[in-house]
């Protein structure tokens, strides 16, 4: 067994330099005795280089192959752990890569290809090297590999015919491998030649040398030769175990008989395998099967068991005798193997289309199946028993049917199957294909081979091989010259399997990208959906917010009024300060508030219904109309009721809030403003009562919240214009507010004649500013009425509380201005808040 050959026999690592393009293949290993250097320059097409291993090489050989490629990238095809796992290997190589090829194990010979394809003008697919070595046959072949041994045999044969002179032996074929290991080994062989000539000749069938010597060698051999089949290799052991139950169920005498026959056959084959023509051996083996069958029939073994026992016998004998019967040196099997291998290599350009084969090369599933079937077919070589080889073929063919099924989309017929099988054989380029086929045809139980699935598929395989061997331009439906060009490698069809491979890579990449794109698309969609959702939410939020804000505003309006109302109270207070200094305003307010709560409501109604007011309002209205356009600038100067400023004094927080709103910058401020508003709102409840009690005019104002609402947007429109005018004033306000208190003692100042001239107008304009724009509204009229009521209210108030009389003119003078300012501020503030809210949303 090759495995028993020790590693110590030589170094296991060999370096083979391969420079593709301009190839130099220099074997650096001494053990690779006859490695033939390929032609210095490789042209396109294929090249085959054979290396012959000297038998004392070890069973594990590592090739380090430096591939120096001309192109930028390429593919490396090879079989990894060739005879063992037979996994297809596919590696990418780029310039300067170091490819390490491990060839492990194997019997008889091993061949390995590195097909290199470069992306130059044409795709070159060539075998970088093909190694043929013989590992296990050293004792049998005198330490020669199959190739050398055969050559040796021929040489001796010729020598004998011509002149048995030793000198002629040195005539070697020019390309015969020279054992580098070297001369020592070879010289040893020369010695052997002298000493053991007979042994050599014994292997020659036509040798007619002295029988005595021959006998001696046979006796010598017989001591050794039966050993290989008696020695229980694990494989044989396994077979025995597999069939243990069947064997035990045999009648003992049958079992013994079978064993005897098996041994007999093994002995005959082992001793004579090199002297008998292979066909005779085949006949012997077939007869052996028949005899076994008859023997079992004679012992009335049932059909099923008989078949199994026949299987066992076949497997056992063939596994034991594999070395002797597989690709024996007496045949030209090896040459044929190499020939078909070369042929297939030459036909590497043939693709599925040429064969009318409906293999969908781009489908991943199909490609996987193609690889599986290729692997199955390659697996044929690693099996030993013909049956197992047959089984490998069956497996391969079943996979082909599967792949056809997925390519064609239905049950595949023979019309589709045969081309597909040819395609697979072409792409697999199985090692020792002919040897395997011949081995099966010779030594497989004929009854199996001729019938059954295995037989059918094997026949198809034979057909495929035959087709490949006889392939012509016609059989591919190609023009003669085109076929020749392809065969010579001048032209490479565009869509070879390899380019399909490359394309496939691109395709798969594209598919990946497409998938990624799809994914991104989906994600984008979800993002967009989310955005839409968010937008909707935002819109609803904005809407909600607007409603809320409106709601709040509608409520805060009241507050604003109420603010004004308290201002009135406040105005009263300072005025009260002025007029009757001893009385504290708060007390008065509270008292009045408490007292006149009911009054206010009644008064409101009265003010609305009072005919006098309307009368009064109309002239003012007309005046306002006239002045309408000038209102806005006037706004800033509009006389405010004194109360406003006063209110600020009393409630500094509110004033602060307004100022902040005015500036309106940050949300924080807004919050503060809101807080202040709230605060004011809170205050309003308190003040509300008070203001009404004080001035009915103001209360009337508060009583009509609607107009104020309407006013707001208009004010907004005015506010930008007001702003510049207002802002300094606002500063003044704040500054004034404290000062106002100081100034208050001089009430005449606010009543300064400038606004005083406009007093009548001022009073009227203040509401007018609103009315001008909103005249259409009936409610406005009310405001106008309310505005016009101011003096009336003053009268009312006056009637109620005599000490307040003076305050009224004062109010109109300064407070009007301030109130307008405040109002504009309010509006600005509100606008600001609205805007800021919008902005936030």
């Amino acid at each position: 067994m090759p495995a028993n050959l020790a590693l110590s026999k030589g170094s296991s690592i060999k370096d083979v330099r391969v420079f593709c393009g301009k190839s130099t293949l220099s074997p650096l290993c001494p053990a690779m005795s006859g490695f033939k250097t390929p032609p210095p320059l490789w042209t396109s097409g294929f090249q085959q280089t054979s290396g012959h291993y000297h038998p004392d090489t070890v069973d594990t050989i590592t090739h380090n192959v430096a591939v120096n490629k001309g192109g930028s990238s390429g593919h490396y095809w090879g079989y990894e752990s060739f005879a063992v796992s037979q996994r297809m290997m596919f590696r990418k190589i780029s310039r300067g890569d170091f490819v390490k090829v491990n060839i492990v194990g194997g019997n008889l010979h091993i061949s390995s290809d590195i097909k290199e394809s470069s992306s130059c003008c044409c795709i070159l697919q060539r075998s970088v090297f093909s190694l043929i070595s013989s590992f296990g046959n050293c004792p049998k072949w005198d330490g020669y590999c199959s190739h050398c041994y055969r050559r040796e045999r021929e040489r001796q044969h010729n020598d004998q015919r011509k002149s048995p002179s030793k000198e002629s032996n040195s005539r070697q074929p020019p390309d015969s491998p020279l054992p580098i290991t070297g001369a020592k080994r070879f010289s040893k062989f020369e010695e052997k030649k002298q000493q053991q000539r007979q042994q050599q000749e014994k292997r020659n069938k036509f040798s007619k040398l002295a029988s005595s010597l021959r006998k001696s060698t046979i006796s010598r051999d017989s001591g050794r030769l039966p050993e290989p089949w008696l020695e229980q290799s694990p494989e044989v052991e396994r077979i025995k175990q597999d069939y243990a139950t069947q064997l035990s169920s045999l009648p003992p005498e049958v079992g013994q008989d079978i064993n005897k026959r098996i041994q007999g056959l093994c002995r005959i084959v082992c001793s004579d395998s090199n002297n008998i023509l292979i066909d005779e051996l085949s006949e012997k083996v077939q007869k052996f099967y028949q005899i076994l069958a008859k023997c079992m029939d004679a012992h009335s073994v049932n059909q099923e068991l008989k078949e199994q026992i026949l299987d066992y016998c076949e497997k056992f004998t063939m596994t034991v005798l594999h070395r002797n019967l597989f690709c024996p040196p007496t045949t030209s099997d090896e040459e044929k193997d190499l020939a078909i291998q070369a042929r297939i290599r030459q036909l590497n350009w043939v693709n599925a289309k040429h064969l009318d084969c409906r293999i969908n090369e781009t489908s991943e599933e199909v490609r996987d199946l193609v690889y599986t079937s290729i692997t199955d077919l390659l697996g044929m070589d690693s099996e030993k028993a013909p049956q197992d080889k047959l089984q490998a073929v069956v497996k391969c063919c079943r996979n082909i049917f599967l792949l056809l099924q997925s390519s064609v989309g239905g049950p595949a017929s023979a019309d589709e199957f045969l081309p597909a099988l040819i395609f697979i054989v072409l792409k697999a380029n199985p090692a020792r294909l002919k040897s395997n086929i011949n081995f099966v045809t010779r030594f497989c139980n004929a009854s199996r081979l001729m019938t059954g699935e295995g037989g059918y598929y094997f026949t198809n395989l034979c057909c495929a091989v035959s087709f490949i061997e006889n392939m012509t331009a016609q059989s591919l439906n190609l023009p003669e010259n085109e076929f020749e060009q392809y065969m010579s490698g001048e032209v490479v069809p565009t869509s070879t399997w390899d380019s399909a491979l490359m394309m496939y890579e691109g395709m798969s990449l594209m598919y990946e990208h497409l998938a990624a794109l799809d994914d991104m698309h989906k994600r984008a969609d979800t993002v967009l959906e989310g955005a839409d959702l968010l937008k909707n939410k935002m819109e609803t939020f904005v809407h909600q917010m607007k409603i809320n804000v409106d709601d709040i505003l509608s409520r805060t309006e009241v507050i604003i009024r109420s603010e004004r109302v308290p201002t009135d109270i406040d105005t009263e207070n300072p005025s009260s300060d002025l007029l009757p200094p001893p009385i504290s305003p708060q007390v008065v307010a509270f008292q009045s508030g408490a007292e006149i709560l009911h009054m206010s409501s009644t008064l409101e109604k009265e003010t609305l219904t009072l005919p006098g007011f309307t009368k009064y309002a109309f002239p003012s209205d007309s005046e306002l109309d006239a002045l309408g356009t000038d209102n806005t600038p006037l706004d800033g100067v509009l006389p405010l009721p004194m109360s406003d400023s006063q209110e600020f004094l009393l409630t500094p927080s509110s004033s602060y809030g307004f100022s902040s709103l005015d500036e309106l910058a940050t949300p924080d401020e807004l919050c503060a403003a809101q807080a202040s508003l709230n605060f004011v709102q809170g205050l309003s409840a308190v003040n509300y009562d008070i203001d009404i009690s004080d001035t009915i005019a103001d209360s009337s104002k508060t009583s009509s919240p609607l107009p104020s609402l309407v006013l707001l947007p208009d004010r907004k429109g005015c506010s930008p214009e007001n702003k510049p005018g207002v802002e300094p004033s606002s500063l003044l306000d704040t500054s004034e507010s404290p000062t106002s208190k100081l100034l208050l003692p001089s009430p005449i100042k606010p009543i300064a004649p400038v606004p005083g001239d406009d007093l009548g107008e001022g009073c009227s304009t203040e509401p007018e500013s609103s009315s001008t724009t909103n005249i259409q509204n009936a409610t406005e009229q009310k405001t106008l009425e309310a505005a016009s009521l101011v003096p009336n209210s003053g009268y009312q108030g006056f009637t109620a509380q005599g000490w307040k009389i003076q305050s009224i003119p004062c109010d109109t003078g300064t407070s009007d201005l301030k109130s307008s300012q405040n109002r504009s501020k309010e509006n600005l503030g509100r606008k600001a808040t609205l805007e800021s809210v919008d902005g936030l949303l």
């Binding site: 099924q405 049950p411 017929s413």
Partner: protein, 221 residues
């Protein structure tokens, strides 16, 4: 019970419906056993006729002209041949005549020949008359059937007839390639093993398409 194992090879030009016929038959026979999608080019079936069980191995062949030369490998050791042609295309019928000549030349063993005119569903486009085909079938010593793989007509009869033909062959001592054994009785003396054909196979492969003389010799020894 006697069991006969025989091989039927389906021959005919491309597109005459060989595979459809086989698939149709498999579908009927094995719908519950085997998925017919695995492959329609090879299958076995058992037909019981009276007290005889016939195991048929049906080998479908590729009909393409380019594989024509490979045919001998398929019909080697066949016991029956289904010669399928398309009744709407006369050239398929002439192709059958060539097939028969080839078989007569290369196969010495008696063979059950069944001439099958397929595609009777296209009867209005018929180019090969029933009479002509029938006459030819009689001339070559076979029987003639008309089938429609599409409509599943007459297919079973074809296979049944072949099975019956094989039983007749098995009674004929000349036929050696037919495997006959008695499955009920233990002392199966009727087993006729095939002669070893390895050489023929090797020759076949080496010589390529041309079926050699040796094959016949070996097949009959």
């Amino acid at each position: 019970m006697k069991t006969i194992e025989g091989k039927i090879v389906v021959l005919g030009s491309q597109g005459v419906g060989k595979t459809s016929m086989v698939v149709r038959y498999i579908g009927k026979m094995f719908s519950h056993h085997i998925s017919p999608t695995i492959g329609a080019s090879f299958f076995t079936c058992k037909i019981n006729i009276d007290d005889t069980r016939v195991k048929l191995q049906v080998w479908d062949t590729a009909g393409q002209e380019r594989f024509r030369s490979m045919a001998p490998m398929y019909y080697r050791n066949a016991n029956a041949a289904l010669l399928v042609f398309d009744i709407t295309q006369y050239h398929t019928f002439t192709a059958i005549k060539n097939w028969v000549k080839e078989l007569q030349r290369n196969v010495e063993e008696p063979m059950v020949l069944a001439l099958v005119g397929n595609k009777t569903d296209l009867v209005n486009q018929r180019k090969v008359t029933r009479e002509e085909a029938h006459q030819y079938a009689v001339n070559i010593g076979g029987s003639y059937f008309e089938t429609s793989a599409l409509q599943d007509e007459g297919i079973e009869e074809v296979f049944l007839n072949s099975a019956v033909g094989m039983i007749k062959l098995s009674e004929d001592s000349q036929c050696t390639s037919l495997r006959v054994y008695d499955s009920s009785e233990a002392g199966g003396t009727t087993a006729i093993l095939q002669p070893p054909p390895p050489l023929s196979a090797a020759v076949q492969l080496d010589k390529g398409p041309s079926p050699g003389e040796q094959e016949r010799v070996l097949a009959c020894c």
